[in-house]
Amino acid sequence: MAKYGMVIDLDRCVGCQACMVACKAQWQTPEDYFRTWVKHIGPVQIKDEMVFTSYVGQCNHCDNPPCVPACPTQATFKDTETGIVLVDYDLCIGCGYCVEACPYGARFINPVTKKVEKCDFCYPRLGEEDPACVKTCIVSAKVFGDLENKDSYISKKISEGNTYIIATKEVNPGPNVYYKGRRSKIEAIIKNYPPEKKDTLPAKIWSNVLRPFVILGAGATFIGSLVAFLFQINQGEKEGEDEE
Amino acid sequence: MIGPLYKVLGWSHGTLLVLALIVGFFFGYALYRSGFYSAKKLAGVFYLYDFAVYKVIFVGIIAAALLLWLFSGIGLLKFELLSFHPSYLISAAIGGFIFGIGFSIGGFCPGTSLVSAVTGSFDAMAFFVGVYLGIAIWDLGYPFLFKGLNHIGKIDAKTLMEAWGVPYIVLIIVALIIAVVTFPVVSKIEDKNK
């Protein structure tokens, strides 16, 4: 059992975007789409400090990921073995509910395969080499490892303190990607790219209105027939009466 | 959606073939409904008792040209992306002349013979076999007998608009005038020879 996570040290990160290209080269994502992103923020004045940082983000493999219930065919699920949120590409029909539901915008529909694509912590490389972004990060700002294993390097790095998660009171799906660095940088990120709760109209209509209607309808007719059948049984077998 | 969709949107070859089936379906449907399943009606244009072929082709050209002009005018169609037959004038003329003779004898052209054959006309089937033979003669004889016969009189201009510098709509109107003038004359001839 393991729960993989990542720590990104924003103080070390210089925003050179090598991770974005390494990830793209590894998984050949189409050109304007990235599984991991580096969004430069600033220089901007936060309280009395000048901040020039970058929001290095990807799928946070949250503890209770809003994208999993959003997927009708349950193509996406949090793998209980590794804690990584994966996608079974047989089941994905490219509807994009999960893309809408993800508070960090970590998912996109690949226009070539027409299915959803996201960071999966380089799942096929797991166990043999670090994810492509971690390996190429020239200032070792990204650390990847097993959060459940207390003496792993990543757990030590987190327990050194000054570790934050990109979440707000309203939206906190329990992300497993931690951020270290000066507090002003975290605030700049949350100010510019706040995780927001999004619910798509069709999904809302279905779960609140239509599903109850369909279940009730089908249930009612089914039970109705059942009652009629029971009613008919206790009436006893009557030859088709031939009233006029 | 800007046409031609296959080229602009870069659809796959498979999609093109499906489109070909659909277009062919309506092409066959149109040919049949125009009555081109009967050799009598087709040959009529040369024997002056039924000018359907002449009228249908002429109206077809004008209708299609008008739509093409309209759509490319309002930007829904990139005219330059359409595929144009390279213009080998002399070859086209010779080919057309011989084609006419064959048409008057056989009573069909390749497309209409297929339509008529499918509906059970033996002579259409014979004609169709003839077309295969004709093309086979050309294919086999090409290297030593007919090499280059189909590429004589090449001109760069792909359309008359380019060649004469005349706008598309003017050519359409000219064709329309010719049609309006010749159709009643032709109809009179038809009634005389019926």
Binding site: V14, G15, C16, V21, G42, V44, T80, K135, N162 | -
Partner: protein, 771 residues
Amino acid sequence: MGKPISRREFFKRSLLGAGAIGVTDYSYVFKKFPPGKAGREDVELIPSICEMCFWKCGIIGKVKNGRLLKIEGNPRNPHNGEKICARGNSGIMQLYDPDRLKYPLLNVGKRGEPKWKRISWKEALNRIAERMLEYKKKYGARSIANLSHGSSSIPMRKLLKNFGTDRIAHASFDQCRGNRDVAFELTFGMGAGSPERVDLINAKAILLIGSHIGENVHTSLVKEFIEAVEGRKAKLVTVDPRFSMIAGKSDYWLPIKPGTDTALILTLINYIIQHNLYDREFVNNYTYGFDKLKEEVKNYTPEWAEKITEIKKEIIIEIAELFGRSKPAVTIFPGRQSTWYGNDTQRVRALAILASILGAVGRRGGYFFPTKIKLKGCPCPNKIEGEDFLCDTSEYPFMETTTECIREATLNDEVKMWIVYGSNIIHNTPNPQKTIKAINKLDFMVVVDIKPTEPSLYADIVLPEATYLERYDIPFMVADSRTPFIQIRRPVVQPLYESKDPFYIVSELSKRLGLKDCFPCETMEDYLNLALSSIGTNLRKLEKEGGVYRYEGKPFLDDFGGNYRFPTPTGKIELYSTKLSLNDKDPIPKYEPVEDPPKGWARLSYGRSPVHTFSRTENNKWLHALNPENDLWINEEAAKSMGLKDGEYVRLKNQDGVVSDPVKLKVTPGIRPDMVHTYHGFGSQSPFLRLAYKKGMFENALITKIVLDPIMGGMAKRINFVKIIKDGKEIDFPVIKQKPSGFKKKPEKEIKIKLTAPLPVGGHEEEEGGC
């Protein structure tokens, strides 16, 4: 690293894993991976060297049946190891760029609007050789000039010297680090080195003037820099009028007034000497002219400096104290692109002197010495008689041939033919209009490149060179390193289309020019095997060992037992430069004020994008997707008063009336109001580069005014002033009086957390929580 379980073991587990407890109990066998993934099994790992910029990081190419899938760092390379930057990763898109040059081309159209006709290599080389021999006969060998850059142009330069012309200029001398190396030559007798020989890891304090590390990505340098600052908590002082990425990580940020850096450095030197914070013992043993220096700088006081540089005197004093305390483990970073205001060699000499008086030379944490070893190779002897630098060197004593000299010579008909090898002279040399005028006077112009960049538009013949992933190159000896090594570039894939490697081009040309004794080796492999034999190895063996041969280095003074003799005339570090005084130049740097932008104008500054090597990578699909166009940094206050909003497109007009392409505004408080800043290398003018064509602003067109450095003739470029044009109207920059400033980073409050307790929103329990 937490020990990750092996892959087979992992799959075994998940196969057996029955409905595991937990969120929802579907234990799915996740076997289908997204298509097209470079699995580990049948991938060939080929070590080589990157050339997306000139830093030469070691790389490993992952090749699967002849197609390059991925590039990663070469763990055996002592500098970058498994790390490579964004450009290194995207080498694939350089190799498979559909717009790259494919065949030799002959221009049958006009210069500037080329019509290309594909010709064979034989015909192209015959024409070139014919022309060269013709011009040699008529006007002498020196009527042929070469503008080149990059490791692949070295064979061509050797050939030309053998042919008889030394009119060879590289942009790196007169546009970039020329004056830095001359300054170090005059002071220590050796250049600053590439990579810069700075022992950052052991530094306690670092001074960084005008270099934006992090936005300017040289992998091993950035790696060591961040390790020093963030890892080992060295104190970093950044002097930059713009709040760069590295300024965000420094302990002191000094938004200095542009053009006054020398004043600040001399003030520091004076303060350190007056309060004898300098390394007395080192100065006595190893420096020359200390008293003259002391005398010269005595009236550079912090109060005076505050007025000139607009940096608070308390901050200046604090920094001087800091360097005094941390000596000799102080890194005075030499910088790289240093042709700024016109008197730049003296500024860099001041830096060298500051480092010397702090004893930070040949010591841990300061500069260190290179260690070279002799390598055999196929010679191509230099057959040049006498020196003729085209320009009168009386005025510029330490000048080599510069692009400017070649341009001038071409304009007055002394040079008939140009060979432009791997250098985009339209983008890297200021005043491109003058360059084009010179080209139009040429009889014949040859361009050798991998992409149809701007110079190829004016060429008569264009030769497609193989990219760094398809060729061998001369062996690279990295002497400027604490752990010196030799590394080899070898083809990762076979050359595509008809692109050829430099050795083929040069050896074929030398045959046609009848030069018997130039590059007698048959192929580049023979050249490499010959060179490697001098260190007892060969190509095959080295490749098996990962392409890197390491040898013993002697970087520090104590490696020489303390009596090291500097290769200067006096054998010591020349604080007072004898050579300069001989050529009646100031032997000790003085501060000369620089012309300020007139009212309503702002100074145009330029810099690098972290994902581009100027115009070379604009057409790279992936890098283009990351950073398609440059934007113009403008001060928030100034923008507000000019009615400009962030993201708006405006044009710039410079003092000579040149109007630029539109550029997007980036309104930020992180830059001084009297200047604007943009990334260099965008706005390609070549329609053949479909991705890069007209994307972003071609800012080099605005740099028309240049001043030559009095000592070595380098072209200073940060002296052009611009105005903003919005919808046709010119808008003046407001005059905003800058109070002396200087920012010190506040220490971060230490916040302990327990891993078990769930991390609250955006912060910690005792904090008030999220924003």
